[in-house]
Symmetry: C2
Subunit: 228 residues, 2 copies
């Protein structure tokens, strides 16, 4: 830490160490997300994570001094991964149908490629977001609100049918996430050990159709009177 000696190599060595530390911490978090998803927060022991990551329990605690710190890092990574792909609705000037299709595709793809990330997040929310509620409030809620705004601009411009934008977004999230969160039950119904690529594609198509039908202007010719 103290740069007392005037070696030119010193800074780079320090830097490399920092990089290695970052890598190792990231690797640990990547291993942990799966175990947290399968066992829940309290059901997960640091010993189990350490073993899966190939280091000792005490060594892991050198990098993450508490279990909660590791858990929060895991959720941070989940949100980073997730939100980076979820700016799709930002292109509000484009055709709503195309934007929405891309959005749904991105979310289903995330469910397929990062099922554990989705599940850890889901369990946290279902349990009442006691450990991570503030972060959700600061990072997820503004994004959802922005999406809702886009919907409402589309509605105001007459580009899509007058749906309830808030709940439509809720439903898009619920549907796309379910392909990660409830895949165990879906696989049971489908009689498979796990979902196949085609299952995700079928699901995606079903979601796209439902949303497209819901926002279709043709379907609501006499609908400004409300209440149907």
């Amino acid at each position: 830490m103290p740069p007392k000696i005037g070696l030119a190599a010193a800074p780079t060595r320090i830097k490399r160490r920092v990089i290695n530390r970052d890598r190792l911490e990231a690797d640990i978090a990547e291993v942990a997300v799966r175990i947290f998803a399968e066992c829940g927060y309290e059901g997960t022991s640091i010993a189990a994570i350490a073993e899966a990551a190939g280091l000792s329990k005490q060594n892991l605690m050198y990098y993450y001094p508490t279990k909660q710190a590791l858990y929060e890092r895991v959720l941070d990574d989940v949100l980073d991964d997730w939100l980076a792909r979820m700016d799709s609705l930002a292109h509000e000037e484009q055709d709503p149908h195309n934007v929405l299709r891309a959005y749904i595709q991105a979310k289903v793809r995330f469910s397929r490629e990062h099922p554990w990330a989705s599940r850890v997040y889901a369990m946290e929310v279902i349990g009442g977001a006691k450990l991570y509620g503030e972060q959700i409030h600061d990072r997820v809620v503004p994004l959802l609100r922005k999406d809702i705004d886009v919907f409402e601009k589309w509605i105001a411009a007459g580009r899509i049918a007058p749906v309830n934008a808030t709940h439509l977004i809720f439903m898009i999230w619920a549907m796309t996430q379910s392909y990660a969160d409830f895949s165990a039950q879906m696989a049971l119904v489908l009689g498979r050990k796990q979902l196949t690529r085609k299952d995700y594609d079928d699901g995606e198509e079903t979601i796209v159709r439902m949303v497209m039908a819901a926002i279709s202007l043709q379907a609501w010719p006499h609908h400004h009177a409300q209440t149907e």
Copy 2:
């Protein structure tokens, strides 16, 4: 315990005890479902349940010898409550739109009235159904398959559009359940402490519209060629 004395009152007293025991066990399970939902299986201690139920930890273990036994009882009760309301699709001869609307209403209502039941079940499934997978396979899957059959009969009869019946059911479950499982996040977005009755009603209406639009024959004028 030994019925040595020939009193006529003995049998009835035993019976009453059994009834009381049943009541008490049911009451314990009812208290437990909430704590399991908030803390997860491992995060829940029997001491916490016992305290909430107003008896000692050891006394609780007289009725439920293990934590897992209590957990399974809780999930049994959840399924009993749940499946009893979910036979709505059985009336396949009636108008699909009315049957589906009733089905969705029943499920949203369950989410509103029994949010903890839904959440305990969701957490179990998300974690991979390691403790309760067999019961889900035996009790839930057949019901879902039956619902899918009804859909496919409707499609074959040309009464609804040729949708993917399996995934449509998945989506109906995902959407309706989300009003219990993700209500914490929804409340955050809506800026409330918890969802109001109107929020559930808005959600229900949104789901109904999406499903109605998806199965509408008008929306798929040239769609009978489809592979279904």
